[in-house]
């Protein structure tokens, strides 16, 4: 069966999911392998794993806090506690050891594994990398596309030039990279994918016809308007009148016609109220004769009729024309992007879903499982409201397969918390369940829908809130009721049944809404009144016994989060935030960057200046600017500045090595403290990104400017510090005190472009397969108005949901800071308007500076959490670099390899001899070495070898009378000796050594040493033999 839970915030979604997981996992030991639990983020996956394992462990040990869960499970599994505990114990054990088989993860990581498994089949190289950063991919794509302009690509060049020229005519400047990048974002948009695929067949020649057609239509329309205008002007001047005689002169009806006559449109195509006064109320001006009025009114009506009849098409043509080259270039961008990905052997993270879609389309689910090595009977999906169309489409076959086997599946979600539309999340999928959204357009989906529908239980609502105190629950219930009153259909559907009961029974609670005056909210960060309110709220919490870690500051915008963090840190409040402790705030990090930048372009004085500034920043001293000569040679320049700063600097350039190595080198140069978290995290980011830039300083600096500088220090969760995060990141979390610090801003359509099929027939249609419109209010005046209106409604739902997520995070106290709306609210198109309006609806809020409900409760002191703060004692790092450890210095090896001959000749013969143990071995050994040595083999060696093996004096030692040990270690204390050959008979032995050179006294000494060592090892050395291989001279004693 498919169980669908629709729930509100704090209603125990994850608890439900964990309980269901446990119920399924506890049926038998292997069961957990067949449960696929999908969470939205990796972090959530990690938490769910921990919760599952902890619960199992807790149940096994019979911990009291798991009692309710135990009862529920016993009931559902129809078993007794003792059995449950035993089962839990064996299950947790299995899970701990077959950990990789626990399938709790994100859809992306699941899909990633699937793609790797099918890599070759999808024509992807196995070692493909996954690129997360679409910005850098896009920049590269645009650069490459532009680089293709030129005589060899006339059509592309024409499109680009026209595109650039259009921008210039429109006054947008010549920086078309920016425009193209903007365009390129669509390449990563799932929704655009089917349309993009159809663009691939676009012909430049067809498109040129379309363009002319559009142009023609636009100018036809304009000419007709112009004709009306000049007709009117002609009548007026024939009547001997000028602007002077008309009411409002040039800004009234006269100006209206004058504009059209001049080929322009008045700002309102049918005239403003002044124009309408003339037409509707006959207020033309006293000196305008009535018959002229009538003539002009006729003309006006002609204009009106023209707009009514063709206006919408005209607007459409305008928009299409404006976007014309964009559409053409989109196809080129797509091609370029694909090539880049292929060349670099990477996939964009979003591609994974598309790749898997190819797999699930081609193969049956059981076959996929077979390849993968696992199968899933139960699919449990959390946060379903943020699932994208494609993600769901990829999961559907798995769910269908499980349902057909009559297994339990589970989907949990909350349409009110759908806030990831910008990443492709489609909330309608959740709202439609158990119907499948979009099935009306897809027969395969319809077939799946039948299965899903037949196996679905009626959606259940989880309506008890266990998280917040009463006052907060009540506030949210009433607040969103009030919000509903000012909004449309889609929001009402999502918010049906939104009211919650108090599940925990916790009473009290505090809500405080502050309306900040706009002028108070100055733009410079420190003077920002919002910040002081935040600080006050934190101090208030502390006063009530809360700790820093109990407080979360939520922001809508990263930048604001960053400002708040900086402000609070300066005010002495400890802060944890992934968006705010930016690496580029660190003077040390900046000094490293400045050094590398300056050395990279020594002639650039600006870089010198930046370096000087960061250098002095680190020591917090003023720069003696007037004493610096900026124009010296770079080394002298550095020495000069170093002297002014009382530093000793090594200024010569060292051997180039990898970027991380170079950075460490620079860090050493300035004695930078490596224990500084900023420096550590900086290096960490560099190491992680190093693959991308390899050795290239330029790319490194570019990476830093675009991506690196936005990275921040990461703090672990349990630090006692105020958490600052975006509302998006707060989803799924809860805090005793929540401060929503910037509940203000526009609510407007977010899409950049609108893609659509054509409706109805249109001559353009045949040549131009699809419609691409830029985000612009005038879409409302085209046949595609519904696209725009739908987007506007979605944007409103996004906004309301964002508010919902933010206001439902709080357990005990909730602060909302918004801005005061000074004039009367006509359109609810901003957060502040929405909040104000809702509060008016709720209890007749009338513009006060703040509203508060309930009492700020005293904190419950939690005893079982202990703070662990580990202080790192200072120590002196060695600051060794990898290079300095050094390789084994082997010049001989190098010389021999230099000619790419593996082994030196003398050594080769030596090696052959040491491979021979007994007479008779030599044939095989020679054979082996001859083929191995190739050209290095010398014919005479065979003779030499045989000469030795069968030499009358030596032959005895090559018989199996003796045990032979070649090149064998003799250990004496810590010394090791390796004679070439020893032959042993119980306690007797003979030492043999091969030499290539001339006889030498030292050789004998060497053998004597061997002999004495062997004697100490308990052997009687019967003989020592030196064999000079070149001459076959034998010396023995």
């Amino acid at each position: 069966m498919l169980h669908i839970y629709k729930s509100g915030a704090g209603s125990g979604k994850t608890y439900t999911l964990v309980r269901e997981y446990l119920r399924l996992a506890l049926r038998h030991e292997e069961a957990f392998r067949h449960i696929l639990a999908i969470t939205f983020t990796n972090k959530a996956a990690g938490e769910m794993k921990t919760r599952v394992l902890d619960a199992l462990e807790g149940i096994a040990r019979g911990e009291p806090r798991y009692e309710p869960l135990m009862r529920e499970l016993c009931e559902r599994l129809e078993t007794d506690v003792a059995t449950l505990q035993k089962k839990s114990e064996s299950t947790v054990k299995r899970m701990l050891h077959e950990y990789a088989d626990i399938a709790i993860g994100t859809i992306d990581s699941f899909v990633h594994r699937l793609v790797r498994m099918y890599a070759a089949d999808l024509r992807v190289d196995y070692s493909f990398g996954v690129e997360m950063d679409k910005e850098s991919l896009l920049n590269e794509t645009v650069d490459e596309l532009l680089a293709q302009a030129g005589d060899k690509n006339p059509e592309l060049t024409k499109a680009l030039v026209e595109f650039a020229e259009d921008r210039i005519t429109e006054g947008k400047g010549w920086r078309i990279e920016h425009e193209l990048t903007y365009l390129g974002i669509e390449l990563f948009n799932d929704e655009a994918r089917p349309f993009l695929n159809r663009l691939k067949n676009l012909q430049y020649s067809d498109m040129e016809q379309v363009r002319l057609m559009l142009k023609e239509k636009i100018s036809q329309f304009n000419n007709r308007l112009k004709k009306y205008g000049s007709d009117a002007m002609k009548y007026i001047s024939d009547a001997g009148l000028t602007a002077e005689q008309f009411r409002y002169k040039s800004s009234g009806i006269y100006g209206f016609f004058e504009k059209y006559a001049g080929g322009y449109h008045p700002p309102e195509p049918l005239g403003n109220t002044r124009v309408k006064e003339a037409i509707k109320q006959d207020k033309w001006g006293d000196e305008v004769p009535v018959d002229l009025q009538n003539t002009l009114r006729d003309i006006y009506q002609g204009i009106e009729a023209l707009w009514a009849k063709n206006g919408s098409e005209y607007r459409l043509c305008q928009l299409l024309y404006r976007n014309f080259y964009a559409l053409m270039l989109m196809a080129d961008l797509e091609r370029t992007l694909e090539r880049i990905k292929k060349d670099k052997n990477i996939l964009y993270i979003g591609d994974l879903q598309h790749k898997v879609y190819d797999i699930v389309r081609l193969q049956d689910t059981p076959v996929i499982y077979e390849r993968l090595g696992e199968w899933y009977d139960h699919i449990l999906i959390d946060e379903f409201q943020d699932t994208s169309l494609l993600q769901f489409r990829n999961l559907l076959p798995l769910i269908e397969n499980a349902l057909l086997k009559n297994k339990d599946n589970l989907i949990v979600g909350d349409a009110k918390q759908a806030i990831y539309r910008f990443r492709g999340g489609e909330v309608a999928q959740f709202i439609s369940l158990p119907r499948i959204y979009g099935s009306e357009r897809d027969s395969q989906l319809r077939a799946r829908e039948v299965v899903i529908h037949n196996f679905s239980k009626k959606p259940e609502f989880l309506n008890r809130n266990f998280r917040s105190r009463e006052e907060i629950i009540n506030f949210n219930n009433n607040f969103f009721d009030a919000v509903l009153k000012c909004n449309g259909e889609i929001i009402r559907t999502a918010y049906a049944n939104h009211r919650q009961e108090n599940g925990s029974g916790k009473k009290g609670g505090y809500v405080n809404i502050v309306f900040i005056e706009n002028n108070e909210r100055a733009e410079t960060s420190d003077a920002d009144a919002g910040h002081t309110h935040t600080l006050e709220a934190i101090q208030m919490s502390l006063a009530k016994g809360y700790r820093y870690r109990d407080v979360a500051v939520l922001c809508m915008i990263n930048e604001h989060a960053s400002n708040v963090a900086a402000y609070l840190l300066r005010a002495g409040v400890p802060v944890v935030s992934s968006d705010s402790l930016l690496l580029n705030q660190s003077p040390q990090v900046n000094l490293i960057i400045a050094d590398i930048r300056m050395r990279h372009q020594p002639g650039n004085l600006l870089y010198r200046l930046e370096w000087v500034r960061t250098l002095f920043n680190c020591s917090n001293e003023n720069v003696p600017f007037d004493r610096i000569n900026w124009h010296l040679a770079i080394n002298d320049f550095q020495l000069q500045v170093a002297a002014l700063a009382n530093l000793e600097l090594e200024v010569t350039d060292r051997y180039e090595s990898s970027i991380p190595d170079r950075i460490l080198r620079v860090a050493r140069k300035y004695q930078i403290d490596f224990s500084d978290p900023f420096v550590q995290f900086f290096l960490d980011e560099v190491v992680a990104a190093n693959e991308r830039f390899g050795m290239r300083v330029e790319e490194f600096l570019e990476w830093w400017d675009t991506a690196g500088c936005k990275k921040s220090v990461v703090c672990p969760e349990n630090t006692d510090a105020v958490r600052i995060m975006t509302v998006h990141k707060s989803k799924g979390l809860q805090f005793p005190v929540v401060i929503f610090a910037d509940a203000w801003g526009e609510i407007s359509p977010r899409k950049k472009y609108y893609w659509s099929e054509w409706h109805g027939n249109n001559p353009i249609h045949e040549k131009m397969p699809i419609v691409l419109l830029p985000n612009n209010k005038t879409i409302e005046q085209t046949p595609f108005a519904d696209l725009y209106n739908r987007e506007r409604a979605s944007a409103m739902l996004d906004a309301v949901n964002l508010l919902y997520v933010a206001t439902t995070r709080a357990e005990d106290a909730l602060f909302i800071f918004t801005t005061a709306t000074n004039s009367e609210i006509k359109d609810v198109n901003s957060y502040q308007a929405l909040i104000t309006k809702a509060l008016e609806n709720m209890f007749g809020y009338d513009g006060g500076a703040s509203v508060s409900l309930g009492e700020f409760p005293q904190a419950n002191v939690r005893k079982n959490e202990t703070d662990v703060a580990i202080k790192v004692e200072p120590y002196r790092p060695s600051r060794r670099l990898l290079h300095e450890i050094g390789a084994r210095w082997r010049p001989e090896w190098i010389m021999s390899r230099n000619t790419l001959q593996r082994i030196e000749k003398g050594n080769l013969l030596h090696e052959v001899l040491c491979a021979i143990r007994y007479a008779g071995d030599e044939e095989q050994v020679i054979h082996r070495y001859r083929s191995f040595a190739g050209g290095a083999w010398e014919a005479k060696w065979e003779e030499i070898i045989k000469g030795i093996v069968y030499h009358p004096e030596l032959a005895a030692y090559f018989t199996n009378q003796w045990r032979v040990v070649n090149e064998h270690r003799i250990i004496c204390g810590s010394e090791v000796y390796i004679p070439d050959r020893i032959v042993i008979q119980t306690d007797d032995c003979v030492i043999i050594d091969y030499k290539t050179g001339e006889p030498d006294k030292n050789h004998e000494t060497q053998l004597d040493v061997y002999a004495s060592v062997l004697t100490r090892a308990g052997k009687n050395v019967r003989k020592r033999i030196l064999i000079y291989t070149n001459t076959l001279l034998i010396k023995s004693w």
Binding site: A149, S657, D661, F674, P716, S974, I982, I984
Partner: protein
């Protein structure tokens, strides 16, 4: 009490059994490192003297007596390419050649593990997820190639082996299987052995197992294993998997195994640390501060690194008092200049081939060229003077693409072989070899480089050359290979190069990978990056064989994880102090989960500990607020003031200098006093200033013939009809700054076209206006173009100079028009009213008004006799429908009268006095909005 090390124990026992002559004894090890440590233990026995036993790694022993030798990576590829060609023909070869590495690995394991290969390949060919990937009637090229490939996979396997055999070579698996299957033929090679020992083994391949069994029949073979009862007894514990599996071979009785883990007195710390690099720091802190490792204890201390990315920072962070150090992992090639050279060359080639159709091979991307000439190894073979020159030229001229002749022209003919790219894949290896040979010779001769560095670079060069030499053969056997595929294959090989470190052997701190810890024992152990996916490696396996078949015939992730588990727990056996560090931060595709081993320790081992302790916590970095940088204040010292005066009385003030001063005195200082201009960064396209220059030039040329006379529209119009002329002017101007080739394609070409368009659009509208004016008898009389007006103004004791270059001065209907062309965005000009004039000029948003007023003032000063009305204004080139934009002066035409100019002159004096006032320092503006487009925002922390 100090526990005996495992290998110490084994060495003692063997020595005790066989005495000083162990030359009839064989001892086998799983890897080289354990073998060496064993020999080291023998030396530590301090026996007077002894003849060591025969020691081998199992692999070496099995490979030793073979007729074939092990092929290197490139040889394997060559053989594989040949086999592909023979099996499938040339068409599909290249496609699958890219998967060669994975297929070769799969074959290797098949040989080690599968006894009935015929059956295996049959199953593989019929495997459903392979056969059903494309529908039967899918006849696309890929589908049919795909089917062809899998239907003949066994033939490929055979052909590959044949190919290698004819070379006298083999890959490991193939040769190990050979040894296992034909052990009897090789038997005479070990007839001198009376007894054998196998030390420290755990997991085995099937062929190892067969071979060891065979050895056991030849002579008494005893297994020394290092295992603990805790995990061996437990049937579900992966660390004991192999001991249970091979219990009869190893003769393991789980009840007789030692209980190191539960009985040992051991402190285990489990520390969560965010990310990688901070772990290095925590590790160093533990060694130095908490454990206080002395130099004697170093050799008993191991830092186990499971993710080599942490190595750099670890080494950098290690405490100073650690003198001796041994790194077993080898330095990744990617840390050498030689590798950097390879990367640069590869990138240059790839870029070049990518665009070879549109651009040919004679134009190189600037950043490729830069990174090549900045490579120290290569540039040491060039003249430094010349490379500096080339670099400067690239930056100065904004060269995005650089032609090869141009480069060689600067660097000299002797560099031709570096920049003349090979036309085909076949020539690529030779081309590269040539460069590396040249570089290696230079490196060996170079006396400047430190010895260690020289060794590393030379070694890296050598190893790359060996691979390139192999690539030569590959291209012979794969004639269809594209340069991109070849470079990709080479890259896979070169990336894997590791250069062994010269270490302290057994004495120093041991920095090692997990695999190398096999059989070794340390009293102090730090394990880094104990995260799922790294430790153990997790589920991912690169293979062409579907899971179910792997499970049936080969190994899966379970075996890999069991090996890791065993190695992990074994490390703890004799350790007294253990710190296990893991990354707390998840990344987007998984990772960041602490290792299951850590969970097992916490949840399973902890309750059974008899002695010792396990403690887990999260490391908290200490964050301090970044200090707010001090504001920049430059006092007017006598030096500074001197420079200021020199500027005012020498070069003089221009409108832009004056405006810079009004905007921000610090910006003014940097730009005009310190002389630090706009950045000189390489621009792939001309910057705004260059565009302005080109457009101005074209407009100047158009009006040039009319200076001093009337320019009738009828004549001017011909310029519009002759597009070539405007194009020519623009091109001429842009050429001054850019390489001509770069103007013919890419961004620069687009910019060029855009400039032309800008001029044309402007003229079109401008002439319309002129035409209308002519109709009412207002003719355009051109006075001057690009003229510099100058004036002097006494301020205090100084005579301050002013100057301004004016785009166009013309006269029409008696008035003088001073026109400035602007390519930037259009904006409304200041409305001058009595109340606010001239104070509002202090607001930088009125900078254009200041400029226009200064022009008018200069004109009046320079031509005092001319008493015509002056109208200064701007032509907005991007808004060509606008007539001259003028100040809103209250006069209808935008006339600036003398009264205004007098007020303005006072204002100028005021500014200049402030400039000269020693009390007023140069400082940052308070209004941060002004910083938005300032080039010094980084310096001021206003970005």
């Amino acid at each position: 009490m100090v526990m005996e090390r495992f290998l110490q124990h084994v060495a003692k026992r063997i020595f005790d059994m066989h005495g000083r002559d162990m030359s009839d004894t064989l001892v086998l090890f799983p890897n080289h490192r354990s073998l060496q440590y064993f020999l080291h233990e023998l030396t530590l026995l301090k026996s007077e003297a002894l003849i060591a036993p025969h020691v081998y790694t199992l692999d070496d022993f099995m490979l030793k007596f073979q007729p074939y030798t092990v092929a290197d990576g490139m040889e394997l590829l060559v053989a594989f390419a040949t086999a592909l060609k023979k099996t499938y023909g040339e068409e599909i070869m290249v496609d699958w050649l890219q998967h060669a590495h994975t297929l070769i690995d799969d074959f290797d394991e098949i040989d080690r593990q599968v006894e009935n290969r015929k059956k295996f390949f049959n199953d593989l060919k019929n495997f459903k997820s392979i056969t059903s990937l494309f529908s039967k009637d899918d006849n696309s090229e890929f589908a049919s190639q795909y089917r062809l490939f899998w239907e003949n996979i066994d033939k490929l396997y055979e052909a590959y082996q044949e190919e290698l055999k004819t070379m006298g070579k083999g890959y490991n698996g193939m040769l190990l299987r050979y040894a296992a299957e034909r052990a009897d033929e090789l038997a005479h090679n070990c007839d001198y052995i009376k007894q054998g020992y196998a030390v420290g083994f755990s997991g085995l391949y099937r062929c190892d197992e067969i071979f060891l069994n065979w050895l056991g029949q030849k002579f008494p073979l005893h297994f020394y294993i290092d295992a603990d009862a805790w995990y061996c007894r437990d049937a579900g514990h992966e660390a004991g998997y192999f001991f249970r599996k091979y219990s009869s071979l190893y003769r393991v009785n789980v009840n007789e195994l030692p209980e190191y883990l539960t009985e040992g007195e051991r402190e285990i710390e489990i520390i969560g640390v965010p990310r990688l690099t901070p772990q290095a720091h925590v590790a160093a802190d533990i060694l130095c501060n908490r454990w206080n490792i002395t130099n004697e204890a170093l050799s008993e201390t191991a830092v186990v690194v499971t993710d080599t990315r942490v190595l750099h920072s670890l080494l950098f962070a290690l405490p100073e008092n650690i003198e001796a150090l041994n790194i077993t992992m080898g330095m990744p090639a990617s840390d050498t200049s030689a590798y950097g050279l390879w990367e640069s060359l590869r990138s240059m080639l790839l870029h070049a081939y990518q665009f070879s159709e549109s651009r040919g091979l004679s134009q190189l991307y600037h950043s490729d060229v830069l990174s090549l000439i900045q490579n120290k190894l290569l540039s040491s073979t060039f003249s430094p003077f010349k490379t500096d020159k080339l670099q400067a030229e690239i930056y100065k001229n904004n060269l995005a693409y650089i032609s090869v002749p141009y480069i060689i022209g600067i660097l000299g003919q002797e560099t031709a072989d570096v920049f003349t790219l090979p036309a085909t894949a076949h020539e690529v290896p030779g081309y590269l070899l040539n460069i590396f040979r040249r570089v290696l010779q230079a490196c060996l001769k170079d006396t400047q480089i430190a010895r260690v560095q020289k060794a590393i670079e030379a070694e890296a060069c050598m190893r790359i050359m060996v691979i390139l030499e192999g690539a030569k053969k590959l291209t012979e056997h794969a004639p269809n290979i594209s340069p991109a595929v070849l470079l990709n294959l080479l890259h896979k090989q070169i990336r894997q190069i590791h250069i062994p470190y010269a270490g302290e052997g057994f004495d120093g701190l041991q920095l090692m990978g997990l695999q190398e810890t096999r059989a070794l024992s340390f009293r102090n152990v730090i394990i880094l990056t104990a995260n799922e996916g790294t430790l153990p490696p997790g589920k991912h396996l690169t293979t062409h064989i579907p899971y179910r078949l792997r499970k049936e015939y080969l190994t899966t992730y379970q075996e890999r994880n069991s090996i890791a588990a065993y190695l992990f727990y074994r490390l703890l056996h004799r350790a007294e102090r253990v710190a296990i560090l893991y990354n707390t931060e998840p990344d987007e595709l998984g990772g960041g989960e602490k290792s299951r081993f850590v969970l097992q320790l916490e949840k399973e081992l902890a309750p059974y500990l008899k002695k010792g302790s396990i403690r887990a916590y999260i490391h908290q970095p200490l964050i301090t607020a970044a200090k707010t940088p001090t504001p920049i204040v430059i006092p007017k010292t006598s030096v500074a003031l001197q420079k200021q005066i020199a500027l005012l009385t020498g070069k003089g003030l221009s409108p832009s200098a004056l405006n810079a001063y009004i905007q921000c005195t610090l910006r003014y200082y940097f730009r005009y006093i310190a002389g630090i201009g706009e950045q000189d960064e390489i621009e792939e396209t001309p910057d705004a200033a260059t565009i302005g220059e080109a457009v101005h030039y074209a407009l100047e040329q158009i009006f040039l013939p009319y200076v001093g006379r009337v320019a009738p529209v009828s004549e001017l119009h011909k310029h519009l009809n002759d597009k070539k002329q405007i194009e020519g002017w623009i091109y001429e101007k842009l050429k001054e700054r850019f390489d001509e080739i770069s103007l013919q394609s890419g961004k620069n070409y687009l910019i060029y076209r855009s400039c032309v368009k800008l001029v044309e659009e402007f003229l079109l509208k401008h002439f319309e206006v002129l035409e209308t004016n002519e109709k009412s008898n207002k003719y355009l009389h051109v006075e001057a173009l690009e003229q510099t007006l100058t004036a002097e103004l006494p301020v205090g004791e100084l005579v301050v100079k002013f100057n301004g270059r004016i785009d166009r001065i013309h006269r029409s209907a008696g008035d003088v028009y001073i026109a400035d062309y602007k390519t930037g965005k259009h904006s409304t000009l200041l409305k001058i009213t009595d109340d606010t004039f001239p104070d509002e000029l202090d607001d930088p948003k009125n900078a254009k008004a200041v400029q226009l007023l200064l022009y008018a003032w200069l004109y009046r000063k320079q031509y005092p006799a001319d008493n015509s009305d002056i109208v200064p204004g701007i032509y907005w080139l991007q808004q060509p429908d606008k007539e001259l934009s003028t100040l809103q002066t209250g006069k209808s035409t935008g006339v600036v009268d003398d009264a205004m100019l007098q007020i303005f002159e006072k204002k100028i004096k005021q500014w200049v006095s402030a400039m000269l006032n020693p009390e007023i320092p140069y400082m940052q503006t308070d209004d941060e909005k002004r910083c938005k487009y300032c080039e010094f925002q980084q310096v001021c922390n206003r970005a």
